[in-house]
Amino acid sequence: MAYADDLLQDARHLAARGGKKPKQSSLRRAVSTAYYAAFHLLVADFVANYRVAGERPRLGRMFEHRRMSGAAFEVKDRQNPTPIEADIKKMIADFAQLQKERFEADYNVGRSWSPTDVNRTLERAEDVFTVWRRIRKEKLAQHHLMSMFGARHD
């Protein structure tokens, strides 16, 4: 199983730890891990295109979290997006929310996490996996992945 899938499974275990009275620390780690699962899913796909396998981990470390969610994506006709465009839009929205949750889980100790919110975060991460695996070979999806890495548009 790929590293990203392992992380997603870890996130589920962390969320379930403690049963009906989970510790905030477990919930926070579940949220953070769910984000990193989605992050590594995308990074792994990006670096897989690099021919020199030994350099891929270094390439993966060049990703910047803020840039990844800020990458612009324009739908040609906002009222009628194509199925691929709709998928990419959904993935962008889910990924950005995961990033926000991870930031708060890691740094905002004043926030109380509820199991419902954590479960919804896990669902978002699962959706990123499902959507990305459906569209990852599409030219538009690969183009957006390049943008998430920081490449400029033509």
Partner: protein, 103 residues
């Protein structure tokens, strides 16, 4: 930083959210929101959605997706100049946590 259209259109947002709240009962108990900057310093609208215990425990994905989708349909977030974030908790979780922002 330039104010987004959402700041000027809060009355419209309030009306749309209230109407949706009514429409989605009994799964949705209430929807609270505010506008601010997110961790990236981008303008955002933050929704806090309290669900019934039944919806949260048994139909979370379905109900949450529906709420998110309907909010996006009723409020054109790109036009409003904000990115939308949605957080959820159940009625009993809110009863235990007693957070004013969710009340």
């Amino acid at each position: 930083m330039v104010m987004p259209a959402a700041v000027r259109q809060q009355a419209k947002i309030r009306d749309e959210v209230r109407a949706l709240e009514e429409e989605l009962k009994p799964d949705v108990i209430r929807i609270r929101w505010d506008i601010g900057e997110d961790w990236r310093d981008e303008w955002a609208i933050f929704f806090r959605i309290v669900l019934s215990d039944d919806a949260a425990q048994h139909r979370l994905r379905e109900v949450a997706k529906n709420v998110e989708q309907l909010l996006a349909e009723r409020l054109d977030f790109p036009e409003l100049g904000v990115f939308a974030y949605h957080n959820f908790r159940s009625e009993s979780e809110q009863a235990a946590l007693q957070e004013e922002a969710w009340a």
